[in-house]
Every structure is written in C-alpha cells, then in structure tokens.
Amino acid sequence: MMSSLPIMLPAYAEIFLLAMACIILIVDLYLPDGWRDLTYVLSLATLLGCAVLTVVVTAWTGGQLAYTFNNMFVSDLMANTLKTFTYIAVAGCLVYSRVYLADRGMYRGEFFVLLLFATLGMMVMISANHFLTLYLGLELLSLCLYSLVALDRDSAVSTEAAMKYFVLGALASGLLLYGMSMIYGATGSLEIVAVQQKLEQVVSRPYEKTILVFGLVFLVSGLAFKLGVVPFHMWIPDVYHGAPTAMTLIIGSAPKLAAFAMAIRLLVNGMIPLAVDWQEMLVILSVLSMAVGNLAAIAQTNIKRMLAYSTIGHMGFMLLGLLSGVVGGNRLSTADAYSSAMFYSVVYVLMSLGAFGMVLLLSRAGFEAENLSDFKGLNTRSPWFAFIMLLLMFSLAGVPPTVGFYSKFAVLSAVIQAGQVWLAVVAVLFSLVGSFYYLRVVKLMYFDEPQDRAPLRAQFDMGVLLSANGLAVLLLGVLPGPLMQLCLHAIKGLSPV
C-alpha cells in the first residue's frame, strides 16, 4: 500500500503549514502596520489550506494507517479528525482575539507566526508515531505558547505567568523524556507501535516490568502536566489568569486536543499492554482533578481563574473515558471508551473556545473583563450574547439539551460499562458541585443589574462566529449522533484498538 502513495503524503498539511508560516513571517516584515489584516487573512487562509490538504490526505489514504519518515509520522483517521478540529479551534482563536490584540498593541506579525508554529507543533504531536516526533511536536507547541504568554512584554503579570509556565513546562518535559528513556531501555525501541509489540512480549517478565512501570510513572506525570490534572495542575490557574485573555483562549482550546492525542499515542498506541497499571494511575489523577477543579472553582471571583479550575475538572472527567478501556485484560470496549474521551475533548474545546470568546467580547480597549461581576446584567445589555453564554455555561455544567451533557453521558456510559459504577457516582457528584459555579455565571447575567451599561460592540466576524459557536453547542446537543460516530470511527482506525 505504501508504495502507491507519494512518500511524504501523510505530512502534506504540516509541510504546507511550515512553508506558509515562513512566508507569513517574511511577508509581514514588509507590511506597513495598517496592513496587518492581510497577515490575519493569510493565516486564516493557511488554516483553510491545511484543512483542504488534510481532507485530501484522508481521501487518498482512505482513512487507513499511512506512515512516513521511517515510521516516525503516522496519518490515521484520528489524526486527521483531530487536526481538522485543531484548525477550527485555531481559526476561532484568531477571529476572537483580533480586536482584543489590536486594542492592546499585540496585533503584530509575531503573534500569527507563533500561533501557526504552535499549530504545527500540535499537528506533529497528533501524528507522532515515535517518541522523538512526539517530543519535538510538544516542544514546538510549548515554546510557542511560552512566547505567546509573554507577548505583552510590558505586563509584569504576563511575564510572571510565562516564566512559571516555562519552568514547570520544562520540568514536565524532563519527566516525559526520562520516562521515555526508561521505556527505551526496556524495549529497545522509540517507535510507538514497535514499543507496543515489544511490550506484549516482555510485559510478563518481572524484571522488565519493574523498569517499565517506573518509566510509565514518569510518562504519565509528564502527560498529566500537559493535560493539567491534579496534582500537576499548579500552573493552570496562574497561567490562565496571568496571560492576556487571547493567549488564555489559545492555551485553553486547541492544545487540549493535542494533549488528548498525546495521551492516546503514548498510553494506547504505545503502552496498552500496561493498561492495568496506567489505568490505576489515571483513576487517582481523575478523581483528584474533579475534586480540586470543581471545589476550587467555587471560590474564584476571576472568571479566567474559574475557567482554569473548570478545565482541571473537565480534564479529570475526560480521563475517566481513557481509563475505562481495558477491563480485566479485555480490550473489547476500548473503542467505545476512547472515543467517548475523544468526543469529550472535542466538545470541551468547543465550549472553552466559546466561553473565553465571551470574555474577550466583554473586554475592550483599556478594560479587561476578568471578574465574574463583569458579567452582571449581561441580559439587559445584550440578550443575544447572554443567551449564547447561557448555552455555553449549561453545556459546561452538562445540562441537556446542550452537547456538554452528551459528552458526560458518553464518558459515564464507558465508565459504567467498565463496571466502575462507584467512579461514575463520584463523577456525577463532582459535576453537581461544578454546576454551581456555572449557574452563578447565569445568575449574574440574568438575575443581577448591570454595573457597566456600555453597549456591547461585536465586530461582525466575531459576532457571527461566537453566535455559531454557541448555537453549535445547542445543535450538537439536539443531534449529537454524527460527531459521536465520527469519534468512534476515528478511534477504531487506531492500530491496537
């Protein structure tokens, strides 16, 4: 099959993105400041081009596994699906943050180039079939994000956030590399699928098993840091809070998809023979995250911090799907479980995008809408956007008929089919706690009088996209079937499932 395909076909989208990012970098140098919208349009066009290429690649390979660069890079249905959602999320970030950045003097070429390189990093992570590829993608993404957080170089808070993010991120990368080296020592391979085949043979030998589980602990820690689950969550609230809101939007959306892909590549593609071990670790991470995330969010008065803790809780919930795959050594329900986690991630990104988009909408030149009280009386200022935010909040809380309910539903179903009813009960109790602070936002918008009567001004592109984002949460709630089916197909295309 490989011989009939152009050799680098699986990576066409990445190559195109790299070329375009370099072109945009150079073109922007020669643009006068008033022409920055051209960079903006070019960046969006690049993402569109990537989407087209990804569709072409999918059509060409027929959704089958296709490897390139000596099996270091894989194109499968999950990779292509997640990449497509990544483009959408990144495009959303661009549109939502345009006015915000322009108001604050950050609407410069660097922003676009860094964002595009970050996207490239995510795509490489999503398609990695080799520990090194994965690590390269991760570092490319992380370095771009550190710089983006620090882009507002005169802001002490942002610089501090960037520093924190960088130091902790570097530590996590170190943990990850250390874990990889252990696995390499035990299996003699860095290629993810080869590692898995090797593991099937050595997993029963106690000596190797010790090294493997030791390495696994480091891998899971590194992964947990990137996902931002307890006890590796410390950076999340500070970075979300300190970064300019546009950067928080970026960190809080598309990279979650990449982190999910990384979890799948490492744990499922690579380490599924050790599933019993990593699932136990994930149980602890998941329960702690739901507890800390949901309880700490209640105490927040800053909406960015609140959404940061909400992310922690949501990632904990998503892990529930990942840890329900292998039951007693039986891999029959893995596709159901992992696809529920994938569905959860995609839906979460959609909601998070919208929620931060609303925060950006409320901000304007010289005013940061950061506090929950800034949402007071939004219904009298703009009933339409209050309604959109209402949908987003109820979706985050998991109340039907919004799509957030189905993502919780799918994950809970996987947990219960795995026989862990107690875990499902814990999860619903914490989501009950969680619903409190989402309801509080609705309360502020609908029940309280506005503090700030300035009319909301939404640029056309932002208004349309934000409305579409909110309505998508409702429409996917009425018809969640196709997206669920897509996630199921995507996961079924993975090699060991």
């Binding site: 219904n379 009933p383 309604f387 209402l390 109820f394 109340v399 039907p400 008929p401 309910f405 189905y406 539903f409 799918a410 809970l412 179903s413 219960i416 089919q417 009813v421 499902a424 009960v425 619903v428 109790l429 989501s431 009950l432 619903s435 409190f436 309801l439 609705v442 309360k443 609908y446 029940f447 969640p480 079937g481 669920m484 089916q485 199921l488």
Partner: protein
C-alpha cells in the same frame, strides 16, 4: 398503532417553536407581539393535544400514538414517543395550564415579557416531551432540560430571595437526576444496549441491583415530588417564584416525580418496590400528617399552599405504594386534581399579590367585602383543597383512603386525618384572608377581578367541578394502563 399525524411531536415542538419565535420578538417594546404570539402558541399547543383524547383507545394498555426514529445510533438511542392512559392526562393538563399561565401573566409581567413567555412555552414543550418519552435518554434530556427555564423564571421574575431559591431548586433537582442518569446507564448495560423504557420493564434484575436502582430513582423522583425529608426546596421555590412559575411548579413539575415512580420505579424494580414500600408509606404519611401541621403554622399564603402541596403529594406516593387499583388510580386522579387546585390557589394568591404586594395572611382580612367574585372562586378552590365531595379533591383522596383500607386500617386512618388537617389549614387561611372586617386601607381599596382573571379562575373552576362530579372519563382513560401496571408490579423479576 402508528399514528398518521405525529400529534405527540406536535405537542412537544409547537410550544418550543412558539417559544423561540416569542424570544425573537426581543425587547420589551414589542411586549404586545410577544404576548399575542405566546397565546397563539400555547393555544395551538393545547389544541394539538385534543386529538390524543379523541383518538385514544380505552381498551388497551399498549402505548399509543407511537413515534419511533433512530436518534443517536452510537448508543442505540431513539426518538421514541408514545402515551398510555397514565401519561396522556398529564400532557393535557400541562398544555391546559400553560394557556392559563400565559393569560395570567398578560399584564402582570412587565419586565422582559418575551423571555418570560418563551420560558413557559419552552418548558411546556419539554414537559410534554418528558411525559411522552419512551426512551431513557430522551426522557432524561427533557426531564433535566426543564430545569433551565424554571431556574430563569424563579431567578428573573421572582421575589426578594429569588437567587437562593432558584439555586436551591436547581441543585436539589440536579443531584437526584444525576444519580438517575447513572441508573439509566447501568440499565443500558444490563439490557444489552437498549435505552427503551419498555425493554427495561421486562428486564430481569437481581435484588441488590433492584434496590440500588430503586434508591437512585428515589433520589431523582423524591426530590421532584417532593417527599419528606427532601422537600425543603419547594417552599422556597414557591414563595419566590412569580405566580405563573408557582402554578407550573405545583401543577406539573411536581407530577414529574410521581410520574417517574409509576414509569420507572414500580415496573423496573417491582421487588425492591415491594420490599421498600413500608419506607415509602412511612415517608408519605409523615408528609400527610406532619407537613399538614406545618402548613397550619404558616403566615405566608404561598408557603402555606406549598406545604399543602407536599401533603397532597404525600397522598399520591402513598397511593402508589399500596399496590392496588384504587390506590394507583386514586393517586393519578389526585395528581390531576392537585394540578388544577394548586394552580388555581396560586393564581388566587397572585391576584391578591398583584394588588397588595404582600403574601402575608396578616396583611389581609375582609377581602370578601371588596372582591366578592374573587372570594367565591377562592372558596371553591379552598374547598377542593380540603377534599370536599363534588370537587376534584375529594375523588382522589377518597380512592387512596379506600385503597389503603384494603391494605391496613391504621395506614388508612393516618391518611384520613388529612381531611382534618387539610380543612384546618385551608379554611383557617381562607377565613383570615377573606372574611371578617376590612382589615386595612389597602384591602378597602381593592378592585374585584376583571375579565382576564375571571377567565383563568373560571376555567379552572370548571375543571375542578367536572372532575369532582363526573370523574369517570378520567378513570376510564387510565384503567387499562393501571391494571397492566399492577400486574407488572405483582410479578417478581428475580
């Protein structure tokens, strides 16, 4: 029998669509349009439920007007609607009450009219969906979806302590329903991947599983009913909600809990239901006796009616868990009757509140002198609330007491004391508010009810009297389904 016209879908979606259209009229400068569209929408929603009655087959306990389409294939979820003799009446009741709510809020609501009307219409559609859903997920979506509009109704148009009440209402109900979701997912696994409620009815289950499921259902439905000791949200929600909100809450939302017991707990976990029946009966009797006494001590009219609702719903749960036809049919009749009577009483309090802006009994006295027509209507509803013969309140209570008598004399005895408590708190309130000398200048300046208010109260009075004098049409509709239910509950699943 496959209906040619999807009447149930129409009953669900016409109000929701009408609500969205009302929402689109936007700001309060278009309040008139919002009201008119809401009225048309609610009337249309009511009229499409009438074919359900005319086309209803009394002889069968099978689901009728069934609509079945795949919805989420990944989880084998269907858009599955259908009614039997148990659920049909609630759809009618709900659509009827919605029309009244729209009329009752016509002039009273001045702030964000479109959103108010839209919330009720959307809620009405979702409630119809809850009663008609035969698929677990569909049921759950509608069941929980109703929380959103109700949360907003209490919080936006409610009284001074509305935020606390709205939040309490939402969180209490959500806790119960999340546990129910876990139960649904468990049943989905047990039944080999089916969310059909009718499949679950036939599913054999062990005793431990049944008891755990029963408890999960109990968590969801006892909060909704509400049963003692999880009833404390109701007085708060009722007191703070606007009149229409209280009426819908009492008339329909509470019925969801009792309906849930009939649709889920009894048929899915019959053995656990039998085993735990003493507990349920005890909780019901506490509601009847203790809450009846609590109602006696209330100074706030809305709180009094709220406690009276809890006591009446105690009768409903009592009727269900004595497992005979009198009990279950009596419970159903009591639910419908309470739907009319409690809605009417809340509208009555609303009428007075709109004029005096107080719900306290102490602020009134001698209202009959200035509002004779209103006093007459309220007299009827007060009598119905104490279960006077020839009103709807009597039929249900009488049947439940008869059913209880067949099981155990002392249960029936304790239940029958409701006739004393009910009369005591209702009539004492009525006496203090309506009779006597004119208490203050505000009461002296009251104007009697106008055409709009007379229409609302008159329609409810007709319903109350009709059910009281001639309840046969109601019992006929539910007969076959109740028999089937009882057979089902009597057969062990172990």
């Amino acid at each position: 029998m496959q209906a040619t016209t999807p009447w149930l879908s129409l009953a669900v979606w016409i109000p929701i669509l009408a609500g969205l259209i009302v929402l689109a009229t936007g700001a309060d400068r278009n309040a008139r349009e919002a009201r008119v569209i809401a009225l048309i929408g609610s009337l249309a929603g009511f009229f499409v439920t009438l074919p359900l009655v005319s086309g209803f087959n009394l002889a069968t306990s099978e689901m009728q007007f069934v609509e079945l389409t795949p919805w989420i294939e990944r989880f084998n979820v269907h858009y599955h609607l259908g009614v039997d003799g148990i659920s049909m009446l609630f759809i009618l009741l709900n659509s009827f009450v919605t029309v009244l709510v729209v009329i009752a809020g016509w002039e009273v609501i001045k702030k964000q009219v479109a959103q108010y009307m839209a919330a009720f219409l959307i809620m009405s559609g979702m409630l119809n969906g809850t009663f008609a859903a035969l698929d677990g997920v569909l049921f759950y979506v509608f069941f929980e979806g109703t929380l959103i509009p109700m949360y907003l109704v209490i919080g936006v148009w409610g009284g001074p302590n509305r935020v606390y009440a709205a939040l309490k209402f939402f969180l209490y109900t959500l806790l119960g329903s999340l546990l129910m979701l876990v139960a649904f997912l468990y049943l989905y696994g047990k039944s080999g991947g089916s969310f059909s409620i009718l499949d679950w009815h036939k599913l054999p289950l062990g005793m431990t599983a049944q008891v755990l499921l029963f408890i999960a259902f109990l968590a969801a439905f006892s909060v909704k009913v509400p049963m003692v000791p999880v009833h404390t949200w109701l007085p708060d929600a009722h007191v703070e909600a606007p009149t229409g909100g209280s009426a819908v809450l009492a008339a329909i939302l509470l019925k969801l809990g009792a309906y849930g017991f009939i649709r889920f707990s009894l048929p899915i976990t019959p053995d656990a239901s039998h085993a735990l029946a003493p507990l349920m009966i005890a909780m019901s009797l506490i509601a009847v006796v203790y809450i009846g006494l609590v109602a006696l001590a209330q100074a706030d009219m809305k709180k009094l009616i709220a406690y009276s609702s809890i006591a009446h719903m105690g009768f409903v749960t009592l009727g269900m868990f004595i497992f005979n036809a009198y009990g279950v049919e009596g419970a159903l009749i009591q639910m419908i009757s309470h739907g009319f009577v409690s809605a009417a009483l809340f509208f009555c309090v609303g009428v007075m509140y709109d004029r005096v802006h107080s719900r306290l009994i102490a602020d009134y006295g001698g209202v009959a002198n200035t509002m004779p027509r209103f006093a007459a209507f309220m007299m009827l509803f007060a009598m119905a609330n104490c279960g006077l013969p020839a009103t709807s309140g009597f039929v249900g209570e009488f049947m439940v007491i008869m059913g209880a008598m067949k099981t155990n004399f002392w249960i029936a005895f304790a239940a029958a004391t409701t006739l004393i408590w009910g009369a005591a708190y209702t009539l004492w309130m009525y006496k203090r508010v309506i009779f006597g000398d004119v208490a203050n200048a505000q009461v002296a300046g009251l104007t009697d009810i106008g055409a709009r208010e007379s229409l609302v109260l008159g329609l409810l009075a007709l319903a109350v009297l009709w059910m009281g004098v001639h309840p046969a049409p109601f019992t006929e509709i539910m007969h076959a389904s109740v028999d089937n239910l009882l057979q089902h509950v009597a057969a062990s699943k172990l």
